[in-house]
Symmetry: C2
Subunit: 368 residues, 2 copies
């Protein structure tokens, strides 16, 4: 069977079996004009997405919560989350984007002022340039440290969570500092606060995350249950996406510049990076013509799959050409490098144009 | 040796020896027009009060921080802290009065709304009626849950405090909930935030407390040291006051109505309570005439000492009359009951007049 969406970096099926995450494929037929990340199996799993499908179908209000942690430069892998937000925004969802300055402080020792500057100059600017309308009245972007509703909710929720529970989930111990120990509750409140009465709740909500965030989703859903009678919380739904593989073959990471294409990379730098990326090619051209390449382990193919090739048909054709040995890595890389270069040429212009708007986003009052 | 200020309920000397609290008597000569609680030894100890003496003498700015935890009715014992604040206000200090609604929530399960109402209708009304000017521009009364500066400072400070430390100080364990575990940091921030640059700091500050609060003062001073280079904190000074004995001979407590005279008691109720209070009288009048009474264990005498008798001379005379067997408990009780009744007749009028102002105090923006 052909699986043009495969990836070997993480064993996603295992996650589904062991932790009760359900396959997203179950719902794909029920979602109107699904996002390419859904149809291509990049969004592979979910919890309780049925509620969101229902809200979408019946045009009922629902919220999407997706935080950003300002701690470096955004790379092409981060684009995936923005693409999802754009899709949800078009569907009429309320969108909440907490900027995790409190987490940056405890996890990375970045002070609030630096976080704010970084959030504006890098993340917010990129989000806008990628096409998300942060000025939309149903969209709220806020700094955790500036949102009193979230801060107070976190504290209220903290009353029904013990140190032992946090220890079991996050591996805390006696020498863990109290900020580190407390901040997960802030994130829980980020997720649950759109459901407060003052924010127009309760209503279904969904958190699009990577599978590494699932322990956090489980804690949030547990806490939502514990406060059900007080706040009428609906346990938040979640979706899980695969991670794009780094160009070097392991994780794409901001701390390994060669593994990632940064949104701020010059088109030429990006071009070079694509051209030296790890592919699924064979040792010799002869061998590859005979046995075909392996797109499932090709990081260049993944760039197309995740981001650069809008047409599913073309992607499948390329996949088959590669498998059948009809296209060699050199040619393919050249094409993709060109596409990446084009993307960045256009993107850098949009980025310039977004800067002014980005400066104003955090001056807006939090939605609730 | 005559000690007209003695109390046998707590062994205050031991506190001084064991924990490094210094005797307040060391400074009494250096304080201009000292408060009667100072001269009568009710304020018995301090840490670093030299800084405050210096600020008073040189008319330099300093801050006083004294929280209120809205969790019931105020009794006459609580008046002592207000008397100190009035004294400091006259001396020109910046006064900060955090309302511990976050603590009430975690310790007593009182929600923020109830705390706010109780703070206004009971505590703030009484503070004003007792003579504290809460509208003074140098005085800031705020709800912890509403003060973002305090909330953010607490979180920043929490980074240099571990679970093990909190466990050692407060006896926390694995099943302690996270709100309970976190809230001491809010109190630390209450105490330290007047020293932030944005609040006009750094400057000396003093926290008048009962000796039971000393572990908390020590933690705050420790944390101030840890953040010295970042915030230029001056470790806060503190003073320690004795607790007035309950009318039943043990602790005066809001949960034991017969032990306490509430500020909201009717003059007649208070009169009755004084008349049935525990004294230091002997078993028979004959015996008492012969051997004298023991004012040191007399709760009626304490009412005069702490609150009702402004003249030190008269108090000493009464003390000696009692010791010498010249005055019997019946007569003494009658006088004191009358004084208490008069106090409450006047106070209840002031209380009525304070209600309107009390409603407005929390509408003021926190000072920083």
């Amino acid at each position: 069977m052909i699986d043009p969406w495969g990836s070997t970096t993480l064993d996603y099926e295992k996650l589904i079996e062991q932790f009760g995450i359900k396959p997203f494929a179950d719902f794909i037929g029920e979602v109107e004009s699904p996002n390419h990340l859904m149809t291509r199996g990049i969004i592979f799993g979910h919890r309780d997405y049925g509620r969101i499908v229902k809200a979408l179908r019946e045009k009922n209000p629902f919220a999407v919560v997706s935080g950003m942690m300002p701690s470096g430069k955004m790379h092409i892998g981060h684009k995936m989350i923005v693409d999802q937000l754009i899709w949800y925004q078009k569907k009429g969802a309320d969108i909440y984007i907490p900027i995790a300055d409190m987490e940056s402080y405890s996890a990375r020792s970045i002070d609030f002022e630096t976080s704010k500057e970084l959030a504006i100059s890098e993340y917010i600017t990129n989000y806008i340039a990628l096409g998300l309308d942060l000025e939309n009245k149903n969209t709220s972007t806020y700094l955790q440290s500036e949102n009193k509703t979230v801060g107070n909710l976190a504290y209220k929720l903290a009353k029904k969570v013990t140190f032992n529970e946090m220890k079991a989930i996050y591996g805390f111990h006696g020498s863990t500092n109290i900020a580190h120990l407390y901040v997960p509750l802030i994130q829980v409140a980020d997720i649950l606060h759109p459901q407060l009465e003052g924010c127009g709740g309760p209503k279904p909500s969904v958190v699009p995350v990577g599978p590494d965030q699932d322990p956090h989703i489980r804690l949030t859903r547990d806490i939502a249950e514990r406060f059900k009678s007080q706040f009428k919380f609906i346990p938040p739904s979640s979706t899980y996406h695969r991670f794009i593989t780094g160009l070097t073959g392991d994780k794409m990471s901001s701390s390994k510049p060669n593994s990632a294409i940064f949104l701020s990379d010059s088109p030429e730098t990006a071009e070079k990076k694509v051209k030296s990326a790890k592919t699924g090619g064979k040792d010799s051209l002869d061998e590859q013509r005979k046995y075909g390449g392996i797109p499932e382990v090709c990081t260049v193919y993944e760039l197309l799959l995740y981001h650069l090739e809008p047409s599913g048909k073309k992607l499948t054709e390329l996949y088959e050409s590669c498998k059948n040995g009809n296209i060699m890595c050199g040619e393919c890389k050249k094409n993709v490098a060109e596409m990446m270069k084009d993307f960045l040429i256009h993107f850098s212009k949009k980025r310039e144009n977004s800067k002014k708007t980005a400066q104003k986003i955090l001056e807006r009052e939090p939605k609730c």
